[in-house]
């Protein structure tokens, strides 16, 4: 049970977007459509899981004074690996997400989980934590993407059900803030148990 809750905590109780409010930049910037949100979430998941595993292994041997630089180097390495893989096999997604792929390095979620969880726990738990938080992030991004796509272009995952244009502001910057704000209100009202 204990291990299972490590995984599920990332969805609601420690939801990175709505509760911890971490990694706001990609959350706002890449959720112009459901697909983009999903891709960004999976990219972050990849880095989060691998860096969590490696950092949980490294933590006991790294001197305390340099642990942050070491973690950053590890994370940056995985991000660059991800960049190569995406360029090679999913070039279109790499183009759409653009700058926000290298910026996973400074996504507070990744370093945050390394500091708050992976350096105190074993490999398996860190893996589960990475998966949980990563999926929580992916689901949040996809939901925001779906809402913005419905309002902004009248479609879901590219499938158009309203002909004509949507409310353009929702695809552009202001819509990102507004949608996230209102979703957070709903989350607070119905899911968060205080």
């Amino acid at each position: 049970m204990g291990k299972w809750s490590t995984f599920t905590d990332g969805f609601v109780k420690n939801n990175p977007t709505f509760v911890l409010v971490l990694g706001m930049c990609p959350t706002l910037a890449t959720t112009t459509s459901a697909v983009n949100g999903l891709e960004m979430g999976l990219a972050t998941l990849f880095v989060l899981v691998l860096s969590n595993i490696v950092i949980s292994l490294l933590a006991p041997v790294v001197p305390d004074k340099v642990h942050i630089p070491v973690y950053i180097v590890v994370i940056a390495t995985f991000v660059t690996v991800l960049q190569f893989i995406m360029q090679a096999y999913t070039p279109d997604a790499y183009k759409t997400l653009g700058l926000f792929i290298p910026l996973i390095v400074v996504n507070c979620i990744v370093l945050g989980r390394a500091e708050a969880f992976a350096n105190k726990h074993g490999v398996l738990e860190s893996l589960l934590d990475g998966l949980g938080v990563g999926f929580g992030f992916t689901v949040s991004l996809t939901v925001i993407g779906i809402v913005r796509e419905i309002l902004g272009s009248g479609s879901v995952f590219g499938w158009k059900f309203i002909s004509g244009d949507g409310i353009l502001a929702f695809v552009m910057a202001p819509g990102a803030f507004l949608v996230l704000g209102y979703l957070m209100v709903l989350f607070n009202k119905y899911l968060k148990k205080s």
Partner: protein
């Protein structure tokens, strides 16, 4: 002329927070009070400009000649982290008063994606000037970095001012804290959308 385009575009049209979504975490985190917002803006301004200068030179004279562009992300973040540490130490020695004003914000800046974002943008993106586009030269890169951080400061101070007023108002329980703040930024971003098209 190109410098004017860069400045206007970076501060208003492509405002780093309100249209590029960079540096949102500290933007939301320290904008509760006008005074902290000003301090953070000053620190960011300082670090972004310095970091862009160093990473631009590093990229131009070390990474590109040796075909090591694939180390860009990792090299840039290390440079920024080291730079922030150095700025902290130097400030402490040279200007204790400035250190007191900016000091507590400095460690936070390493993970401010605005810094890495600007550094990467400058060396990878072509900029548009009227009917042509090209990469920025060193002088333009510095001006871009400076203007971007002024835009960051502008958004931050505007938002902190709004938030100080918000704190005094009654809002429904589920809207308290961040949700209402995000909706406020949304409206602010809507206002900045009006600048699009002027350059």
């Amino acid at each position: 002329m190109e410098y004017i385009i860069i400045i206007v575009s970076a501060i208003f049209v492509n405002n780093i927070v309100l249209s590029q979504f960079l540096g949102i975490c500290p933007f939301l985190g320290v904008s509760n009070k006008l005074s902290t917002a000003t301090g953070m803006s000053g620190a960011v301004c300082f670090v972004i400009t310095l970091a862009t200068l160093v990473t631009y030179l590093l990229n131009q004279y070390l990474l590109v000649p040796f075909g090591l562009e694939f180390l860009q992300t990792i090299a840039f973040i290390l440079v920024i982290a080291a730079l922030v540490q150095m700025v902290e130490i130097v400030l402490k020695k040279i200007s204790p008063s400035l250190y007191q004003a900016l000091g507590i914000f400095l460690p936070l800046i390493t993970t401010n994606c605005a810094v890495l974002g600007v550094a990467i943008t400058v060396v990878t993106k072509e900029f548009t000037f009227g009917a042509e586009s090209h990469m920025l030269n060193l002088g333009q890169a510095i001006v871009y970095a400076l203007a971007t951080s002024v835009g960051y400061g502008l958004a931050m101070v505007l938002f902190a001012g709004l938030r100080e007023h918000l704190a005094l108002n009654e809002v429904p329980k589920s809207f308290k804290g961040l949700p209402i703040a995000l909706i406020t930024v949304g409206i602010l971003a809507l206002a900045f959308l009006g600048f699009s098209g002027i350059v």
